[in-house]
Symmetry: C2
Subunit: 509 residues, 2 copies
């Protein structure tokens, strides 16, 4: 690992303060599953109930919250003659209460499931649970309570935390109420992910990922204007690269700043594009001077993967390039698109830095890359790019090659994107993260109205499903979608899905 | 309830300080169950192990401890990419690890089972578990740990607490190594139960019971000389009686001092006998003056239960009189014995108080009670007292009528006690608490050598079974003995079983 303390020091100085807000449950609910949908009916207020062994109560805090829970307990009946043993489960979505932690056997840790137990030795008492949770609903179950008394919940409150500054939030000026609503949910999603860093999700992984940071930054520029946090993220990544200077895919800030050992082709290049976005927005010369070399270096590292045909070599190493959580997706063509997309950013950075020769070289490489990929991967008969040895056609490949400028014209790009709708075999998209790029590709291909319609349909589908925040994974008609082996560890408030606020505001829908 | 603040104030001033001691595990063990016995084999030191999902490690602290556990964790492998979910189980005896909390379905709360869970969000970390536990062994199980790293336990320590003052402990002067060992275990048992009050057991119920206080006081006079704590206990009970002045069977000190609503015939009368014991030992005039009326009043309340035949009426109300945890035991004859035993104490208290007339009256009532019980319940043919309408013969009845002075002579008493050994139908004893009274009855009947032999056999049986402290329940040949519906909630450090230290020292064995 190559640590640059000078950059990390600057990053440390940019850690934001957390704003704290006290939030109380708005109602007590009884979860119901009916006609394939999870919902909640109003139930007797928790303050009026007495709980015995096996009883439970579900508190609804009214919106997605990230923070710390405090509950005040008392008892009714004889003086408590034994502790009370409780379990507390936290859910972003009611569906989580229908899942059994014991049965989850996926490949990521069960420890992400948000639950805890406590023994109440003395009643009345007030318990503040030490961990931070992401939730709208809290289910309190009595695992055992002596028959001589019953448990009462006198009060509950959450100390919600976020570094988002509500006073800095720009208003949404769209006149379309449907879009205003999607914007509201998207902004809430970003708000919840804004903690000490731009987290990917406050339930899981609670971590700074380069790919998520890039999109959070785009939404932040239109909403909370947390430019210092974007800068913090860029300095963190630049301050702890691997030995050959490659940007990590993600990093940890506790117990100290440390880059994860994972590297992904696309995420490293997004450092370059995110710096382009940041400088274009802020004109922050210090950041450009400090981070320029690192940004340009990512392009150079990417080029080491170019094959003799001038196209990024395919790889069967799991996770070599992320693109989407579709495990069947071949990433080669997308990687080429992302490389081209980064070359465009690198050219801009070189211009700003005052290096027109390098800028020209980047533009030349871009032209070469476009030519190469068209020769190698364009299926001229169908008008789409294929990917990998098996010639896979996918939505991701077309989107990224649109964004990378590999299509000869808007019309050609539009035709490719539209042709996917007729191709049942085209490999699809499973994350709002990939949909973000699809929306952008549609706009770049001159299909802005279609982009708006897709956004309304896709993010609107989550909203119609009761989303308080947008999800990590969403594939209409596939409610069990999870790359982890179980939806109980899915994140239902995930920064990479806050795209609506960017598109609605940036394109003034 | 009748609260007497003046007495409670004095009690509050007598709460002891807790001494704190740092204790570390002496070894890592692997529990084994072989030939019907639970044991432990030395295992690889926990510091040298790495733990993954499903792994566990058992720490042996070397002796029974009551206190708070701190564990320092770290990780090995990649930077932790998920929390670690652990369960920690605390056991006084290794057998507890072979029991399943899920399967316990007894009538007292599962919440007494000593276990907890935690999520470790950041590693390395130090976790101090907030509850007080009673344990020698700690089992740490990894419920889930990401496959990218493993968990390490760097260190563990307990902050053990007790109000017993080791510097005040009188030495055991017995020359019999077997008795010295039983004394050591008994003293440790009392040490562990000495907290802010004389608790019955540090695992369960952690509460001041009048019957336990009486025996703990007897052992304390011979060992730690915690006279102020005995006085505290007496003032607590006298300070919060029920409306007609009856002493509660037990009381709580948190969140504030409050007597439980349970009343037991025998436990109320033990206030009288415990005050007698306390004054005889200390000559504390203030206590005698403050508590005398309450003590004499218990006798008066007991007499309301006398039938026209001058014998305490039988009752089928569960728990009306405790005597022993043998659920098949008829309590009538024992209750009469305890009433007589209390009359003797009341007579002494009246003498000390300077009320010879009342003392004479108590002696007269004692003589009447003896005459009455001999007429009503003595089976002259068999030389034993029967109890209840069905004429049940039990060990408890004989013991208590010996202690109450209902036998005409030592010889008659001795014959009754010895006859039990030939009577397979005689209802037996299940607790060390009842055995305490059996030992005392043997001594009172002139069978001191037999008393010593029984003590060696009974308490020695627990010692041979690896007891670090003596148990709440012990019935040789019945390892599953539990009045609660499951041994997992049994207490294996219970004050009422610390008798050996009293007998060995008081009778200079």
């Amino acid at each position: 690992m190559a640590r640059t303390e000078r950059l990390l020091e600057k990053a440390r100085a940019l850690f934001p303060e957390l704003h704290r807000e006290t939030v109380r449950p708005i109602r007590t609910v009884e979860p119901v599953f009916r006609d394939g949908r999870y919902g909640a009916e109003a139930a007797e207020d928790f303050r009026n109930r007495t709980l015995s062994t096996g009883d439970s109560v579900v508190l609804d805090f009214g919106d997605h919250e990230t923070g710390y829970l405090t509950i005040r307990f008392s008892s009714e009946g004889a003086h408590p003659d034994a502790p009370v043993w409780i379990r507390v489960r936290f859910a972003e979505r009611l569906s989580e209460f229908y899942e059994n932690a014991e049965e989850y056997a996926g490949w990521i840790s069960k420890a992400w499931i948000q639950e805890t137990q406590a023994h109440l030795d003395v009643l009345p008492c007030e318990v503040t649970f030490p961990r931070r949770y992401a939730f709208r609903y809290v289910k309190l179950e009595v695992l055992d309570c002596s028959t001589r008394f019953s448990l009462k919940v006198e009060g509950a409150e959450a100390t919600a935390v976020s570094s988002a500054d509500e006073s800095a939030l720009s208003p949404c000026t769209s006149a379309d109420p449907e879009l205003v609503e999607l914007d509201r949910i998207a902004v809430r999603t970003l708000h919840e992910c804004m903690q000490r860093v731009f987290e990917d999700g406050p339930k899981r992984d609670r971590r700074l990922w380069m790919g998520d940071l890039r999109l959070e930054a785009l939404v932040s520029y239109e909403t909370y204007h947390a430019d210092a946090m974007v800068k913090q993220g860029l300095y963190l990544f630049a301050g702890d690269t691997d030995a050959d200077g490659q940007i990590a895919s993600n990093l940890f800030i506790a117990p100290q700043i440390e880059a994860d050992d994972g590297r992904m082709f696309d995420y490293s290049l997004f450092f370059t594009t995110a710096l382009r976005d940041y400088y274009a927005r802020t004109g922050d010369r210090e950041a450009l001077e400090d981070l320029y070399e690192t940004a340009m270096h990512q392009v150079k590292l990417a080029e080491e993967l170019l094959g003799p045909d001038g196209v990024i070599r395919d790889s069967d190493v799991m996770g070599w390039c992320f693109v989407d959580w579709n495990l069947g997706l071949n990433k080669q063509a997308s990687a080429q698109g992302i490389y081209l997309y980064a070359l465009q950013a690198a050219a801009e950075l070189a211009e700003w830095k005052g290096d027109p020769e390098l800028a020209a070289s980047m533009r030349k490489r871009h032209a070469d890359g476009v030519r190469a990929v068209r020769e190698a991967l364009l299926d001229t008969a169908r008008g789409v790019f294929v990917s990998g040895a098996a010639g896979q056609v996918s939505w991701a490949s077309q989107c990224w090659l649109v964004l990378g400028g590999a299509f000869a014209s808007r019309e050609e790009a539009a035709a490719a994107l539209l042709s996917l709708e007729q191709d049942k075999n085209a490999e699809g998209m499973v994350t709002p993260y990939m949909y973000h790029h699809y929306i952008q590709a549609l706009i770049d291909a001159g299909l802005e109205e279609k982009a708006k319609a897709v956004l309304k349909e896709y993010w609107g589908g989550m909203a119609a499903d009761g989303a308080d925040t947008f999800f990590e994974l969403y594939r209409p008609g596939h409610p069990d979608e999870s790359p982890y082996g179980g939806t109980i560890v899915n994140s239902y408030c995930h920064a990479w899905s806050c795209a609506p606020a960017y598109f609605i505001r940036h394109y003034q829908w």
